[in-house]
């Protein structure tokens, strides 16, 4: 069974600081998705990374897929209160193409 560990579980920082969220596994994934969820809403896809070593940027957010496709990170530069939310990673299982979900990182950016 493939597992995806996400860390930290909770992060509260001041506006303007940088942060990194990690998703790690001992298994290889075909691709990895990052979602953001705001209170009272469902998760919304931010990005999908497919190739080992791939880096994608979305404004102040930088997503990286590990070379071995076992891990991924989300780095936010100069965090803003609008970045507050629950960040979820989900890896595509090699065996059955289904998504394996991380437990989420609750991020709070204080003004």
């Amino acid at each position: 069974t493939q597992l995806l560990e996400q860390s930290p579980q909770f992060l509260s920082i001041q506006e303007g600081e940088n942060l990194t969220v990690y998703c790690n596994s001992s298994s290889v994934f075909s691709s990895l998705q990052w979602y953001r969820q705001e209170p009272g809403e469902g998760p919304v896809l931010l990005v999908t990374v497919v190739t080992g070593g791939e880096v994608k940027k979305l404004k102040r957010l930088t997503f990286q897929f590990g070379d071995a496709r076992k891990d991924s990170s989300l780095h936010i530069t100069a965090a803003q209160p609008g970045d507050t939310g629950l960040y979820l990673c989900a890896g595509e299982a090699v065996s059955n193409y289904q998504l394996i979900w991380g437990a989420g990182t609750k991020l709070i950016i204080k003004p």
């Binding site: 009272g40 809403e41 469902g42 998760p43 629950l86 193409y97 289904q98 991380g102 989420g104």
Partner: protein
């Protein structure tokens, strides 16, 4: 176009009662998922429908939980004899192609069992 819709948005029920939660996926999406999410936590997979294939029920926590999808569109998740531990947000998502394709989520149904 319209996104995924779920109803009701909130449901309070007494322990032991049955509840039905409804999901209207995006038109044309062949795949439909149900998840459960405890407060601020990650997603717990419940069940997956893909086209006319038999659903993947591997995530259903007990035989009190069941789901159906009629005509390849609307889905209903039924919880019988609800227990307090069933309290959570139930999220529905649909996907154009299933598998690891992008999932579009509804706003969820918050279920509270008293």
């Amino acid at each position: 176009g319209a996104g995924v819709s779920q109803s009701p948005s909130n449901k309070v029920t007494e322990k032991g009662k049955d509840v039905e939660l409804r999901c209207d996926p995006i038109s044309g999406h062949t795949a439909l998922y149900w998840y459960r999410q405890s407060l601020g936590q990650g997603l717990e997979f419940l069940i997956y429908f893909q086209g006319n294939s038999a659903p993947d029920k591997s995530g259903l926590p007990s035989d009190r939980f069941s789901a159906e999808r009629t005509g390849g569109s609307v889905s209903t998740l039924t919880i019988q004899r609800t227990q307090q531990e069933d309290s959570a947000v139930y999220l529905c998502a649909s996907s154009f192609s299933g598998g690891a394709g992008e999932q579009y989520f509804g706003p969820g149904t918050r279920l509270t069992v008293t």
